[in-house]
Symmetry: D2
Subunit: 249 residues, 4 copies
């Protein structure tokens, strides 16, 4: 890898064992990847796997909801990749906690905590990443820099007992739209993926449906994010949905 | 007014001089109204006007974003209307600050403050009001208890430089949908009004368009809220838009 | 009723025994109503009821999908109300046939016939009615002239085996939006009502749910249409939904 | 190409010189392509180009709005590819005429003709293609069979003077959703692409914007359709939008 390219990274926040790891592996085929999550052990395990398979990965334990933690992490990335490192793809895959409960039994502090990952976290992540992505010339890099937010059906329709979850998903969609309109003309591709169905991970193994392919394969979410990244600037997709064939909607 | 009915109030949060005052006047034709806003003077002025015109109004300075302030206010309402007072209509008309600026020039604290009115405020208001609205029998009261949130076009489409404003409006829409699905079956009518256009107030006098009726009359927002309140439970409207005839969309 | 006012009518197409009759009765409180449907007997029965209760109604058997039938009907209205009659409210309540079947078992002729009421019919109705509604001055009449289309949830979400039905409902929504944007600035209020649930009529008596108010009362659809009609031009609603409180969405 | 695979084709309706040709070239990298359009000369020119560049293409002049013409074409495809030919990808790219005019100056016949391509044409195409696409086993073929409809922003928002155009675009979206829900569980991937912007073709050369990449490159529409085709059945996208980076929405 030539020196100049080594300074262009992919950054994945919410690099957990399921979707986050799959996205990281996919983008590691093209870029050194920097992984962010709260838990250093999880990050190390994903990074180790990537490094052993011909990629280059490093993880920094980060609390995305804290500006100072995000800034600290960006200092570490600078140390490693140089002060002028660029971000080819920034993926915000931090999950809002799915927590269904009667509205009158919820309390404000808990409610706000449910929103933090999508509000504070997405804000901090986008603010730190975008200055290293803006590309008005459209010249550098094979693919336009891409900022992707993982969303969910709850971004479009709010269920009973799920006001915090829905607020967080509606909110992330609002942010992705607003940033697309501001940073698209600056050459940054901002996208929102509506994940509509259970993702096929260890955590969902016990849940139906048990038919083959009836849950969303994390590798396929990763492929769709990679595809979004490869779209040239004459044809950006702002929003797509992903859903198993068997889904009855 | 018989004693029992005197304990059923309409509660308007965001009772400012424009739309809030108009809503308050409209609901005061049918109920004693309790007005909430930060500024006691504004409240007193609106209440005085209502009281002089045959209605009954009282204002309590409240910071809706603070649970303790909201609780304090509800204690005062109890003192005045009795421990078992009921709410016929609760209107959440607190405005999110409209503040357009380049995303990279925003800061997190300010961003979060822009969201507080719609997130914390709406949460506190709905949690305090709903227990006094639930009506599974469908029996009492001429009209089903009604919880209305004032929204905006930004609830559907997020503009450049407006991610906080859009997030707050998308969020209030999410909350209204989620509460509608939870509390509809409990007899509470939860609605969301999409205000699409400038409202005709002192504050917007200088702005175009200057043609007659090209801004939304506050009294007509009030009439539409009253109409929502009168819908019987066989035909609830969850969402409607309001827009001047001359709007080019 | 003074002579000049007698020339302003309400026109209801799709005046069947359920919702159409309810709408006709409601608008008959304010205007002479002209009822259109295929079946003269049904029309006569509704008209008779209205005439016996202090209103003024007349029905003309019309095939809305035929331009010539629609023109003939308008000639008859002219004969009765004078060449310069005006339309205060035009309601297009003609139902698309709800017909669910596997797509591969459908045939083109039948498919097109399912679409005719909403495409040809709505086109013919709007073209005939609008020239007698346009009102740029905003002066005449107590309420702005109003053109309302009855829609359904299928206007927003298309179900399996229902492509014709969905196409017809998506289509009527498209027409209502397009006409709103063209004729709003000409003083005509164009609206679309999303009926989301079973309507409580003789035809649906056998179907669940059987709880009180769990089907939409036709009279309440009528009230909501009347409310739309009364909105002044500073605050037009283009779309509202109607749904029983018990609906689980 | 092995004999068995040679019987699996890609079918492109609306194979005009811009987007249709680009889609045809893209799918010709993987399948023999069959091109449908009204004009045989256009088809021949596209086919010749593909055949000279290592692909395999044949064009059949077809009026998609006529069942008999569509059936005739399918007989010819059978003759060429065998009675049991299969369709890997069917793309419905037939354009609705964009025709803006005051509603009251339109006439029914012309209105209906504007709708024919999307209603009759899409119906005929989907009915002829789907029986050769259904794949409940999920076994055969590298990629799930894919039915894609080209749509437009007018599928989501109807402009003034554009009711026929909007009706046709709303309608095609309705059909794609309905078919997705019926045929997804049968292994067919049904998608809808919202083209939001001018496509960069000979026909639009004169129109602004003239900045590089400010119109949508037909090849990129083709790439996105190919990507949709490659999605495995655990993660189908039903709808995506495509828009130049510079679009101000």
């Amino acid at each position: 890898m030539p020196a100049s390219l080594s300074k262009t990274i992919a950054l994945i926040a919410g690099a957990g064992p399921g979707t986050g790891a799959a996205i990281s592996r996919r983008f590691a085929k093209a870029y050194p990847v920097v992984l962010l999550a709260r838990n250093q052990e999880t990050l190390d395990s994903i990074a180790k796997d990537i490094n052993q398979n011909g990629g280059s990965a490093i993880g920094f334990a980060t609390d995305a909801t804290s500006s100072s933690s995000m800034n600290e992490t960006f200092s570490k990335i600078e140390e490693k990749f140089g002060p002028d490192f660029r971000i080819a793809a920034a993926i915000y895959n931090v999950a809002a906690r799915f927590q269904k409960s009667p509205f009158l039994e919820q309390n404000l502090d808990d409610f706000m905590k449910q929103l933090d990952p999508t509000i504070k976290g997405a804000f901090n992540f986008a603010q730190a990443a975008l200055p290293r992505m803006i590309n008005p010339s459209g010249a550098a890099g094979e693919h336009p820099p891409t900022l992707i937010f993982t969303g969910a059906t709850a971004a479009l329709k709010a269920g009973s007992g799920l006001s915090a979850f829905a607020m967080s998903k509606f909110g992330i969609r609002a942010m992705s739209q607003s940033l697309a309109r501001e940073f698209g003309p600056q050459g940054v591709h901002v996208s929102h993926a509506v994940i509509d169905g259970l993702i096929d991970t260890e955590a969902t193994k016990a849940y139906p449906p048990h038919e083959p392919d009836a849950k969303i394969a994390p590798d396929q979410i990763a492929e769709s994010y990679w595809y979004l990244h490869t779209q040239p600037r004459s044809a950006f997709t702002q929003e797509l949905d992903l859903r198993p064939f068997s889904e009855t909607w």
